[in-house]
């Protein structure tokens, strides 16, 4: 009897152990993020397309850029850098603009699309919590999209450098001096800094707001999300004749107004004269208030995912 119960207990332990082993092999968060990328292939196909279109434009304008380079003197380093880096900066800017648009569209569909096509009933039949799902969706504008944007920007710059290394010497311009003036590694570093601080952390409350509204709306989540901005902005204009609220949302979204750096009259925050101000940025209360608001929005979005039915 005793041995029998021992055997039973042991086999129960074994099966528990086996269950623990298999349970340890699941990674719900990782797979939730992967399935977002599977579903939204356009987040990198779109970046690739924009990079491709930009590259074609670069090729068409190559002669004009070369003419400008030839007429340049190296006496004014700031001016020289601006001309040399202009195509690189415009390319990076195009991809960053795409990043903003994609984040907006992704967030306003994330918790809406799965309710519209009823696939939420499939997702909810699996042992993945609403919190995991919402965090996985938030990780797209927070990590995945910026990483893709940065990666594509570097790839684009490399292709452009390769083309320049062929074209510049052929038109009698030294590629070595251009390379030296461009300071591409420093540029990439500043670009990463700019993306993270101005296009990830700064607009995050706006993205989280979109995620929340998409989890709530029965239709047209983007319009619902814009409604309070229009209403509050309109009332403010009417009563106080100011437009601080609309401006705040707008600058958050496009990443301007963040105290990330001081540019000395330059067009792009990636130049050698740009003075980065991370301490000022990270000690700005508006950053932390924004992130706290984002956290509240996400918490509500988790509840929305739990309560809302398919539309």
């Amino acid at each position: 009897m005793n041995t029998e119960s021992n055997v039973l207990r042991e086999s129960a332990l074994d099966s528990e152990r086996a269950a623990a082993v298999t349970a340890a092999q699941t990674h719900p968060f990782y797979w939730s993020v992967r399935r977002e990328v599977w579903e939204n292939r356009w987040i990198y196909v779109g970046q690739l397309a924009v990079a491709g279109v930009f590259l074609i434009g670069f090729l068409f304008n190559l002669t004009r850029w070369l003419d400008k380079m030839r007429s340049l003197s190296t006496t004014d380093p700031a001016k020289y850098w601006e001309t040399v880096s202009l195509p690189y900066n415009i390319g990076a800017g195009a991809l960053m603009g795409t990043l903003i648009l994609m984040s907006i569209f992704y967030c306003s569909d994330a918790l809406y699309g799965e309710r519209r096509d009823r696939s939420i009933l499939f997702w909810k039949s699996l042992p993945v919590s609403d919190l995991t799902t919402v965090l996985a969706k938030a990780s797209i504008p927070f990590v995945i999209l910026p990483a893709i944007t940065f990666g594509f920007t570097i790839a684009l710059h490399l292709v452009m450098l390769l083309l320049s290394s062929i074209v510049l010497p052929a038109s009698g311009i030294s590629f070595a001096s251009v390379w030296k003036e461009l300071g591409i590694f420093q540029m990439w570093g500043m670009l990463l800094y700019h993306i993270l601080l101005a296009h990830v952390l700064w607009p995050f409350p706006v993205y989280c707001w979109l995620i929340l509204v998409a989890g709530w709306a029965r239709r047209a989540p983007l319009l619902w999300a814009a409604l309070p901005v229009v209403v509050i902005g309109g009332l403010e204009k009417l009563i106080f004749h100011t437009s601080h609220f609309a401006e705040m949302v707008g600058t958050r979204l496009i990443g301007s107004g963040a105290p990330t750096d001081v540019t000395m009259g330059e067009m792009f925050p990636t130049g050698p004269m740009t003075h980065l101000t991370p301490i000022r940025y990270f000690s700005a209360p508006s950053l932390w208030i924004g992130l706290a608001v984002a956290a509240v929005f996400l918490a509500i979005a988790v509840r929305m995912r739990r309560y809302r039915d398919p539309v």
């Binding site: 269950a19 298999t22 349970a23 092999q25 699941t26 990674h27 719900p28 990782y30 797979w31 939730s32 992967r34 399935r35 599977w38 579903e39 799965e114 096509d117 009823r118 696939s119 939420i120 009933l121 499939f122 909810k124 039949s125 699996l126 042992p127 993945v128 919590s129 609403d130 309560y307 039915d309």
Partner: protein
């Protein structure tokens, strides 16, 4: 061991009461058919059991509170809610990969084995599959999960008869092993009659009938009665009477089988006929009460 235990389960949407205080107990190893007209509250009750909707009253599924513990519950519970909820963009191979990644009890090779019996290729997307194939795929995924409770809400809606038959055959042959529990709702009542171990009728959010299939067969009898014996037959208080080709078919509840035998051939009624009888009477009674 009871898999589901509900006491006073209630769910209202505004003033509409979808589930009106149900007491329910489903034991391990049973296949329960939940039958009811549209809007009877079947899906709402199942949604409460699956932790998809908040509810009032007491409800324990595998000892857990489904609304508070959906994530943990879904390790042991599977469901196919409606046809075609598989994400249309997903490839079959991605579905296998994803399930293996998130579900501790998913056996990928088992799912691949089930899929090998179908004509579904791994690189196909769900949107490229026919409706029947989507259901086959979903069933293959679900059957590869070693779950204790499987809930099927209209799993074969809109499928042709071949797919429907195949669906229940593979469910019985490849999945059900006596220790699992299955709850199925369907309008194709005849097709599940031989599959079920238990039967439950639900209407206006309440349980109208709840019995095992053995009880069902022992309790209910149907007799085709000749016109000259109709008066004698009616004296035995049938619960329902219908006409087929000019002959009367009477449905009896707990009537004396010997007396019935004298009236004509005694058969076990189909669930569909009992459904019509019980629901018809129930609706009549409800109307009578309203008057």
């Amino acid at each position: 061991m009871s898999v589901i235990e509900a006491r006073g389960l209630r769910k209202a949407f505004g003033t509409t009461v979808a589930v009106d205080g149900i007491d329910l107990r489903v034991d391990e190893g049973h296949i329960l058919g939940l039958i009811g007209p549209n809007g009877a509250g079947k899906t709402t009750a199942l949604n409460a059991i699956l932790g998809l909707t908040p509810y009032q009253g007491e409800l324990k599924v595998l000892g857990r509170n489904p609304w508070a513990e959906r994530e943990q519950l879904m390790r042991d519970v599977c469901f196919i809610a409606d046809v075609a909820v598989l994400p249309r963009w997903m490839r079959v191979s991605q579905a296998l990969e994803y399930l293996a990644g998130v579900h501790p009890r998913f056996d990928r090779s088992k799912a691949e084995g089930f899929l090998a019996k179908t004509s579904i290729a791994h690189e196909r997307k769900v949107r490229e599959l026919s409706k029947g194939m989507v259901v086959q795929l979903h069933l293959a995924l679900v059957m590869a999960i070693d779950a204790k409770l499987l809930i099927l809400d209209e799993p074969t809606l809109g499928l042709d008869i071949l797919f429907r038959k195949q669906f229940y055959d593979s469910l019985l042959n490849d999945y059900f092993d006596g220790s699992r529990t299955i709850i199925v709702t369907t309008h194709q009542v005849e097709e599940v009659q031989h599959v079920l171990t238990d039967l439950m009728f639900i209407n206006y959010g309440r349980i109208v009938l709840n019995c095992s299939m053995e009880e069902f067969e022992a309790r209910y009898a149907e007799v085709m009665v000749k016109p000259e014996q109709l008066v004698a037959a009616r004296a035995l208080k049938p619960i329902y009477e219908r006409q087929v080709f000019g002959r009367s078919i009477l449905l009896f509840d707990q009537a004396d089988r010997q007396k019935l035998g004298a009236l004509g051939e005694v058969r076990t009624p189909s669930i569909a006929d009992l459904f019509v009888a019980v629901m018809g009477n129930h609706a009549g009674a409800a109307q009578g009460a309203a008057r």
